[in-house]
Symmetry: C2
Subunit: 164 residues, 2 copies
DNA sequence: TATTGTTATACTCTATAACTATA
DNA sequence: TATAGTTATAGAGTATAACAATA
């Protein structure tokens, strides 16, 4: 549970009276799923950012690009539902991805309010590139959880679907 | 007073050609621990916010209050390490908690740069109250994961500690 | 020199509300 | 009336950098 940057760890070892560094009691917090969920997600997210920071990989891009790649013609609304976020959060992402020529839109025949999204050739290349980073990152997670990965994903998915 | 549960689901059930609502393929994303971690944490966080919004329960308060309660005399720096966030993020939280009379500071005898934190009687009451909300929320999570709670927490903790 | 706590600043992710153009 | 997409605004959570005081 240390900082992200260097490895200057060196237990202060003073601890005159009050609870110091490593010996803090988590107490009731330790039994909360929500607490551990937050810590783990945060740690994972920061590690991911760190690892891909140099590659112009916005954390929000990969999931969107990947979903479009697997669902050519998908609409922004369907995308937002699949990604579990509000449609308004997608607008800037899609604008960026379009500006970078990773994504194109086609008008939808039956509904002029909407439009279908798909990857350009460039977008496909970009996705491949980003997927390599994501895979490397997730590989670390895979190693940490080992053979219990299936259980973990099943539980997380259940939380996503049923919490409310 | 305003209920936040509109609950106006309305399955569109049209799906002419492109991937619509529920039938989106997650594709590669589905195998990523990081992806499910993010979705689950987000869903859980929002549910928690929704449930406790009326009670003036800032999501960031409970963990801090709880940690101080379990570690009287803890310093802000130790607190930040225990909570896994930067010390600068604690300053405003502690200011609020102090302003509300939930937390007090005592000077530290051996180190005049720092100070020890502890709960006031009011803070202890507040913590009890917040803990009830948190417990209710986490109870939902408990039910979702069932008997595999221990496994889940163990895996999450391992991720928190080892990712990097 | 290193650490504690504070301040200033900024970025990401996300949400709600209001608006348009359709449907 | 309801939905799709956009815009504007807001808030939570977090980070980094620089600073003064102290170690």
């Amino acid at each position: 549970m240390e900082q992200v940057a260097p490895k200057k760890a060196k237990p202060a070892r003073r601890s005159p009276e009050p609870p110091e560094a490593g010996e803090v009691r988590l107490g009731a917090l330790d039994g909360y799923i929500g607490y551990h969920l937050r810590l783990a997600q945060n740690a994972s997210f920061r590690a991911f950012q760190r690892k891909s920071g140099g590659a112009d990989l916005r954390p929000g891009w990969f999931a969107v690009l990947s979903l479009i790649g697997d669902n050519p013609g998908i609409t922004p609304a369907a995308l937002s539902r699949a990604a579990g976020r509000d449609k308004s959060t997608l607008t800037p992402v899609l604008r960026d991805l379009t500006k970078h020529q990773y994504v194109t839109s086609q008008p939808r025949l039956g509904d002029r309010r909407s439009y279908g999204l798909s990857l350009t050739e460039l977008g496909r290349e970009r996705l491949t590139e980003l997927a390599a980073h994501a895979k490397a990152h997730d590989h670390v997670l895979d190693e940490i959880v080992g053979h219990e990965k299936d259980i973990l994903i099943r539980l997380l998915r259940r939380i996503t679907e049923e919490v409310g």
